[in-house]
Symmetry: C2
Subunit: 142 residues, 2 copies
DNA sequence: GTATATACGACCTTTTTAGTCTGCTTTCAA
DNA sequence: TTGAAAGCAGACTAAAAAGGTCGTATATAC
């Protein structure tokens, strides 16, 4: 209920991590999964989904890996959620009214839609660069 | 993922319905469940939770039922969510860090907390009266 | 005292989420 | 040219949460 999924958490952690690396350098799913104690197969799927959505770029084969394709300055939380969970719907009936037993009698449809729009607007306005600025500055070489 | 639960939906529907009745009049869980095609036992639990949280008042025994205890002008979406789902946490680790395998290495804790605070602020600022104003006006007697 | 209603807890079922496994394709480099 | 390292894809399983049901106790009107 109103929770972020592990997929989104993992995706954000990976994106933030990539942002902290030398620009353009590759990192493998295994390296990230080791660093953050994430199951590697699962993180692999997450990164693949981010690649399909062009948030990251994947390089196949040995010595391959992933790198950011967009700056965190332009990436938003909404894009990450959309890439990993699909279009955002606050209630099931907006996706598929047929499954809702209350559809006919429903007296909250319009206002819920309005809330959804505002939440979505917030997610789409939240730039991932804001994640970066909150962490302690990392001194030294990179 | 970032969905409203059926409990919250049912609670909102019931609250809105009560608001449309003669002020002070009682309505039973059965009546509401019939009107909105909600399983009555489930709606019963929802209304009981709303009563525990003092959003509605319950009257026991024959001819009993529920009525609003607060005006929708003062009730907020945040209160309803809190009454029916408990304190709002965007990620599990805010409730129980022990269950999070990524707790040590996590690089997104602070920003996620910030997002949660803003979402919570939004929920708490959203007055249920706004639900009312969006419905078609009901002409005639009440 | 009986019918009607809320209250509450235990339970069951279904759906969703999280994680695993198997096998493939692509690429580098020895 | 071949083996290891990596991404890719889908099926599968396990665990957790959500949704729903049932039984029973308690309160109240008539």
């Amino acid at each position: 209920m109103l929770k972020l999924s592990k997929k989104v958490e993992y995706g954000l952690m990976a994106l933030l991590h990539m942002d902290s690396l030398e620009p353009g350098s590759l990192v493998t799913a295994k390296e990230v999964s080791d660093q953050f104690a994430i199951p590697s197969e699962l993180l692999g799927k997450v990164l693949q989904a981010l690649a399909r959505a062009s948030l990251v770029e994947s390089v196949h084969g040995a010595r391959g890996g992933y790198r950011l394709k967009q700056s965190l300055d332009t990436l938003t939380l909404g894009e990450v959620v959309d890439a990993l969970e699909g279009p955002f719907h606050l209630v099931r009936c907006h996706e598929n009214p047929a499954t809702c037993d209350q559809f006919e009698s429903c007296n909250i449809r319009e206002p819920v839609l309005q809330i959804q729009d505002r939440l979505m607007g917030y997610l789409s306005a939240f730039r991932l660069a804001e994640f970066r600025s909150k962490r302690p500055a990392v001194a030294g070489k990179r």
